[in-house]
Amino acid sequence: MRSKALLIAFVLAAAAVADVAPEETGGSAVTPERWGAHAFWASDMLLRRSALFDADSATMLGSVYGGQDLSPVLPLGSAARRELYVASTYYSRRTHGERTDAFVIYDARTLAPVGEVVLPPKKAANGNGVALAALLDDGRFAVVFNQTPASSVSVVDVEERRFVSEIATGGCALVYPAGPRRFGMLCLDGSALAITLAADGSEASRSGSAKFFDAASDPITEKGVRLAPDGGRWLFASFDGMAHEVDFAAQPAPVAKPAWPLVTDSERADGWRIGGHQHLAMHAASGRLYSLMHQGGADTHKQAGTQLWLYDLAQHARERTIEVPNLAASALRDLMELPAGGVLDWLLHAAVPNPGATNILVTPDAEPLLLLSTHEAPVIAVLDARSGELLREVAEPGIAIGLLVAP
């Protein structure tokens, strides 16, 4: 040790003749100029963050952390402003003390906080995290859903970085972006509500659809998918596998098309159902819908899927079935630091029960990737979204993966 300790004293002299050149300290990376078509966020319920990954290289590009609330951290992205927005609940003593709900603004390249807007302390929080906040299409206003359990929406002006107003929303919940200054909500009476904001962010108008589903007998899940990058068209699936297409932007009021079945009578007889925490995915450009399916009884609407069913939306026709790979076996292999593709890996995949997948995402580009994860195992599978071929896995994406989100 003496000699080791002495070494240090000569670092200055040494630096000049080093074979590996002395390096700068103090630097922080930034995210790439373009994130790429296959970048995605994976939220973590335990680390309370979303990490940005590149599905091509299976590498992590950065991360954004939230507050203390139960909900997954889902950054809203503004391409125009190159900003990210995360609404969170904070306490002065982490788990107790004074509550502050804040809409924190991050620079999208440095991922550093650059501002915040304090919100009414009413932010909704839940374990699925779907549709709790949205940036409307013109990029000026964000809406944050409140549930105390009274339903309302907090409106934030991201340009002036100020809280605008709170809008009471009665028996309707969640927020689905549906136009430049419009968002949709789902209501307990089986209808859809659309609210349009004025130029100042206040409520300009609201209109409700006719009842198109029954919240008691066959409710649609919150886990809908938007059918285009903008506009008001969303698709929701009911517990019994009916696909409900809703246009929140229709005039004079939201309209739902006639529902169509994701499962045939014979498939339903075999017990095939939708299920999972994020069980639908949409590839808008090709009009392809992905649905996580499993065989189970009533009340299994959160059960992991064993298969992915791929539909041609226009034809309402199923085109392909993709088997869900065994993510638990892969995670265990990584945990035990065994090589992928080895004999032990094969044994694990044969021995460990396949938990299926609870969450799916399809990238929006022309060569789409399909991302799969489960709450049961910390690994994310990357598949070719068209062929269903398993291309690679993202190891150690976190500890308790929540939602997969496109930037």
């Binding site: 335990l46 839940n126 374990g127 359990p149 309707c172 009476d189 008691a216």
Partner: protein
Amino acid sequence: MNALDRWLEGRSRALARATSRRSFLARLGVFVLGGAALPLLPVARAQAQSAPRAAKPGEPPLDSPLGDPASCEYWRHCAIDGFLCSCCGGSQTLCPPGTQMSPVTWIGTCKNPHDGNDYIISYNDCCGKDYCGRCNCNRNEGERPVYFPQRNNDINWCMGAESTVYHCSTAIVLGRAIEE
């Protein structure tokens, strides 16, 4: 849509206009408030007892999963989602030490295999400490989406407590459910 659902809907719409959460809670009634508001039930607090793992009279025995409050298969857990307070220093009816039971909650209807009857179960969350992390359990009998709050188990019901930080969930019998 049946009478009850219509009633629920009307109530929700009306009450949701309240801007004060407190005044809202004061009027929301059994469907969201759970046991705390039931006039027939004593609201005295059980502050002075520790929480031994015990079956209640009329339940399956403790040594069967159906009767074990620390088991996900416990009969009361048919619509629970979260960490079982019985594994965290609490019980099926008591929050763990230092956590506060939220007065707002969601409700399940579970069949007690011991007497074959259906019971209304109130899954009050315990709040003010971070995740307990033990005995995670998710069952969804009669569970409904977030826009049907009083039947949804994803919602963080600690919204009604002093601190909204979620620790674990209880499973409290409000009473027997009788068919018409």
